[in-house]
């Protein structure tokens, strides 16, 4: 039983990282009906910027240092997200959907291979911003302080996002844009600015996910966004794409399912499982787990 609960704890930490990435997919899909395949690579850029930022900010306690690293990486990725939207997707706003989709794949490949050229193809070891130690031991189930911090940071960010979407004017505008572009424009919502902001928000969360992963698993490289990006996309679809609580639940589900498969069956099948899960859920509920409550689309 201890083993089972330990796997759940491990799965939750991994899953909250997937959730953070999945949110970006889901938000962009909500406002643009576009699957932004470059999103996984923004997560990679987030980790890389964090790696270099940690080398610049060497002073201060571990909390201030982590804060600075997180902020600088979020800032860079937010800008990058806005830039990608402006340069790659906005010119295609009126083009058929498939064009934007293929452009997204192009942007993704560009970021990956430009990253290999810029950062080098070797994996890098993410610095220990926080000394890893046991936070507490509950009858043999170990909670590591980094895993704990990942929970806290992810949930704070997700609540922050929920607040922005539900309680602010910008959030209201985003929800309106996701219903109808034309309608929002008619009531005076600057839809281009709102779409830009959606990209910024999604990229900021991806940057945070990149750094949290760096802290958890230490190894970062320019192609690291590929698999987590796909899995987060699956998570977003599982939860019902376009749905924020759905992305959260989908991410956690993926993380837990994956660790359970690695722990009890074999790690060879962990990726296969992600996609089997997707097929099964879509067969039973084609709109995803939370697909019905589509009023919350963002």
């Amino acid at each position: 039983m201890i083993k089972f609960f330990q796997q759940i704890v491990n799965g939750l930490a991994l899953g909250s990282i997937y959730s953070l990435i999945a949110l970006g997919y889901t938000m962009v899909y909500g406002v643009l009906r576009l699957i932004n395949f470059a999103h996984g690579d923004i997560y990679m850029v987030g980790a890389m910027v964090g790696y270099y930022a940690a080398r610049i900010f060497t002073g201060g306690g571990s909390a201030t240092r982590l804060g600075l690293v997180l902020l600088s990486s979020m800032l860079v990725c937010g800008l990058l997200g806005a830039l990608i939207e402006r340069l790659a997707y906005r010119p295609l706003r009126r083009a058929p959907k498939i064009n934007a989709l293929i452009t997204a794949i192009g942007v993704s490949l560009f970021l990956e291979y430009f990253g290999q050229w810029l950062f080098g193809a070797d994996p890098k070891s993410f610095p220990d911003l926080i000394e890893s130690q046991q936070a507490f031991n509950f009858h043999g189930v170990v909670f590591n302080n980094i895993q704990l911090m990942i929970f806290i940071v992810s949930f704070l960010l997700m609540f922050g996002l929920r607040f922005i979407v539900q309680k602010t004017k910008i959030g209201k505008a985003m929800r309106a844009v996701s219903f109808s572009h034309v309608g929002s424009q008619l009531v005076g919502i600057p839809i281009n600015r709102i779409i830009s902001l959606t990209f910024v928000l999604g990229s900021v969360l991806a940057a945070a996910a990149g750094i949290l992963l760096g802290l958890l698993n230490h190894k970062i490289d320019p192609l690291m966004g590929l698999m987590p990006g796909l899995k987060a996309f699956v998570a977003a679809v599982l939860g019902g794409i376009g749905n924020i609580p759905g992305a959260l639940a989908g991410g956690l589900l993926m993380g837990i399912a994956e660790t359970l498969v690695s722990g009890y069956i074999s790690s060879t099948y962990q990726n296969a499982l992600a996609f089997i899960l997707l097929i099964v859920v879509l067969l039973v509920k084609p709109a995803g787990i939370f697909g019905k409550s589509s009023q919350e689309k963002v």
Binding site: I2, A121, D122, S125, N144, N217, H218, M224
Partner: protein, 381 residues
């Protein structure tokens, strides 16, 4: 309008044709060309870089002493980005375009295996400095290695764990997609059971995985006395860290895939107290070893790792074989490589056995105080 365009296009193709063929056919008549394919970038970049540095040092020395067969030796180095499919195309390029007379590479068994059939088919002798999986030289009679095989490496570690460390229950965590790792796992498993030990858990991961907590949690539940991790340094470092995060304080055991400064860099304090089998130790007081370390440090300003030593030994074995063959033809070099006996390399006295595997001693190293220390050496049985 059509005609001039057509003429332009034909000119273009003619020039392109000349460029392609002109380039490919430039033969270096005054030198002997040896092809090197190595992982200069990618997940096991330090292996390829070190191996190539060792080769280049040997090359410099042989050219300083007048070259071979009255000619200078040169190498063409291709990067395979740590990917088996790239290794195959690198070797094809070396054979067809550069027309090399012999090949040196690869470190990783999966990449040597991907490239070996092409070398065998073109009758170009290929000497792998460090691929330890037995299957590599089974590809054909033109494929050699300058290191011991995993049968020896895996069983040596099993014997060491049972006899010297007195361990009876061991868990294994291996890379299921990697021939090297699977091979070591099998031979360790077999020998350890034969000795009377017990393998309490056998878990796997795949290359490029970054989360090993699930497997480690399972292993923890089975209460072993040590974990055998026959993987490569990037994953080993991560596994060690995550094991400590989960409160697992057992020693880790490994193979020569651990041999990189990155093991300590990524693993940090987590790899303390671990043991691994290797080809050589920098602490070895023998003059051959110390002399090599001095030369290497002068050139590269760092302590050589095992891959540098094996690269150096492999290059020298090949040069020695060419010298003894007195010819630069593939079949003759092959025959003389096969008859290598008591060749004094830095990693020990090397003799080619009938299966084209180098038979030589193995050393066991221990990580202690942030340094890798010599612990014991075992002779081939």
């Amino acid at each position: 309008m059509l005609k001039p365009t057509f003429r332009k296009i034909s000119w273009f193709f003619l020039i392109l044709f000349c460029l392609c063929f002109g380039n490919a056919c430039v033969k270096h008549e005054d030198s002997l060309t040896v092809g090197v394919f190595a992982s200069l970038t990618g997940t096991t970049a330090t292996f390829g870089q070190s191996m190539n540095e060792g080769i280049q040092l040997a090359l410099e020395e042989v050219n300083q002493s007048g070259g071979l067969l009255g000619k200078k030796v040169r190498t063409v180095v291709e990067d395979d980005q740590s990917k088996p499919e790239e290794a195959k195309s690198a070797v094809l390029k070396l054979i067809q375009q550069d027309q090399v007379l012999a090949l040196l590479g690869e470190v990783a068994s999966s990449r040597s295996l991907a490239a070996a059939p092409d070398a065998q088919n073109s009758k170009i002798p290929m000497l792998s400095p460090a691929s330890t999986n037995p299957k590599v030289t089974e590809v054909g009679d033109y494929i050699f290695r300058a290191c011991f095989v995993d049968t020896f490496q895996g069983s040596s570690m099993a014997r060491f764990a049972y006899n010297d460390l007195g361990l009876r229950k061991i868990a294994i965590l291996y890379d299921v997609k990697n021939d090297y790792s699977v091979g070591l796992m099998e031979f360790f498993d077999k020998t350890f059971r034969e000795l009377g030990g017990e393998i309490v858990a056998k878990e796997s991961y795949s290359e490029n995985d970054i989360d090993f907590r699930a497997q480690l949690t399972t292993i923890k539940g089975d209460a072993p006395q040590a974990i055998y991790v026959p993987g490569y340094y990037t994953e080993v470092g991560l596994i060690a860290r995550q094991a400590r995060d989960l409160g697992i304080t057992l020693p880790l055991l490994g193979g020569d895939g651990w041999d990189s400064v990155k093991t300590l860099e990524i693993g940090g304090k987590s790899v303390e107290g671990s043991y691994y089998t290797n080809h050589y130790s920098a602490d070895d007081p023998s003059p051959v070893v110390q002399n090599f370390i001095k030369k290497y440090q002068e050139k590269y300003k760092k302590v050589p790792d095992a891959m540098a030593v094996l690269g150096y030994d492999a290059a020298n074995m090949l040069f020695d074989a060419i010298r003894r063959a007195g010819s630069a033809e593939g079949p003759k070099i092959r025959d003389s490589l096969a008859s290598t006996k008591d060749f004094q390399g830095v990693s020990g006295k090397i003799t080619m056995d009938p299966q084209r595997n180098a038979s030589k001693r193995i050393v066991i190293l221990k990580i202690e105080g942030g340094k890798v220390k010599f612990f014991k050496s075992l002779e081939p049985s």
